[in-house]
């Protein structure tokens, strides 16, 4: 792994730059959770999001 840290802010910025708005992102999390719950969890962990926030996002 590189030293460059990927975090939630950078990721959200990235998604915004390609034209995804907040509502789409929320829908996207729901979709991710429904289809690949384990994948969703590990993706959020990769973004260094804390346990509590992960729980919150997965429950959206």
């Amino acid at each position: 792994m590189s030293n460059e840290v990927m975090n939630k802010e950078k990721w959200v910025l990235l998604f915004k730059e390609i034209g995804l708005d907040e509502a789409t992102m929320t829908r996207w999390h729901r979709e991710f959770e429904a289809r690949y719950p384990d994948g969703h969890q590990s993706f959020l962990e990769w973004l260094n999001i804390g346990e509590d926030e992960i729980r919150h996002i997965r429950a959206l």
Binding site: M6, R35, G39
Partner: protein, 177 residues
């Protein structure tokens, strides 16, 4: 002179004690000494004999044939062949070790792939779910590369894409900038 107990010899050759006792009984290998309490004791030359027995065993020779071989004065030809046999056995041993190492690596590789939670397929289908078409995904790579090139590399590695494909993706991402 150093003498070895039956336990030590058994361990050295990965044999059971009962095998060694059997070899003694049938006269293939009789230890040259006994301890005060009458335990079998093997000398260096007993061990040399044991080396040859193991060597012959590895070729599938019967114990009867081995006994005959051990009794016969060895000619120059047969000792040359014996040392060649030793060399071949060593080679086989080395190859077996390599085989084990390779199998281990392959096993880990397979395990790694199977336990990967997010694969390329999962990711593509999730980008599609976000409404991205092929052009949108291309765009995503371009922005990812522009903003966080190293994380882009990490991410692609983490979803199991191979080295060549990763460098191809990053190349065209940079070209689009």
């Amino acid at each position: 002179m150093q003498m070895f107990t039956i336990g030590k010899v058994a361990k050295k050759y990965s044999l059971s004690r009962s095998t060694l006792i059997y070899y003694d009984m049938i006269g293939v290998l009789t230890p040259s000494g006994r301890s005060e309490s009458n335990y079998r004791l093997y000398s260096d030359s007993d061990l040399k004999k044991m080396d040859r027995i193991q060597l012959f065993r590895s070729t599938g020779l019967s114990l009867e044939a081995i006994e005959l071989l051990l009794q016969t004065e060895s000619s120059e030809l047969s000792s040359t062949l014996e040392s060649r046999l030793f060399a071949i056995n060593n080679e086989i041993e080395k190859l077996r070790d390599q085989q084990k190492v390779i199998l281990k690596i392959l096993e880990n590789e397979i395990l790694d792939k199977n336990t990967r939670v997010i694969t390329k397929g999962v990711w593509v289908s999730m980008l599609e779910a976000a409404g991205l078409d092929e052009k949108g995904m291309k765009n995503w790579h371009v922005e990812f590369e522009k903003n966080s090139p190293e994380a882009h590399q990490d991410f692609l590695e983490s979803i199991g894409i191979d080295k060549d494909e990763i460098s191809a993706i990053r190349d065209w991402s940079r070209a689009e900038c």
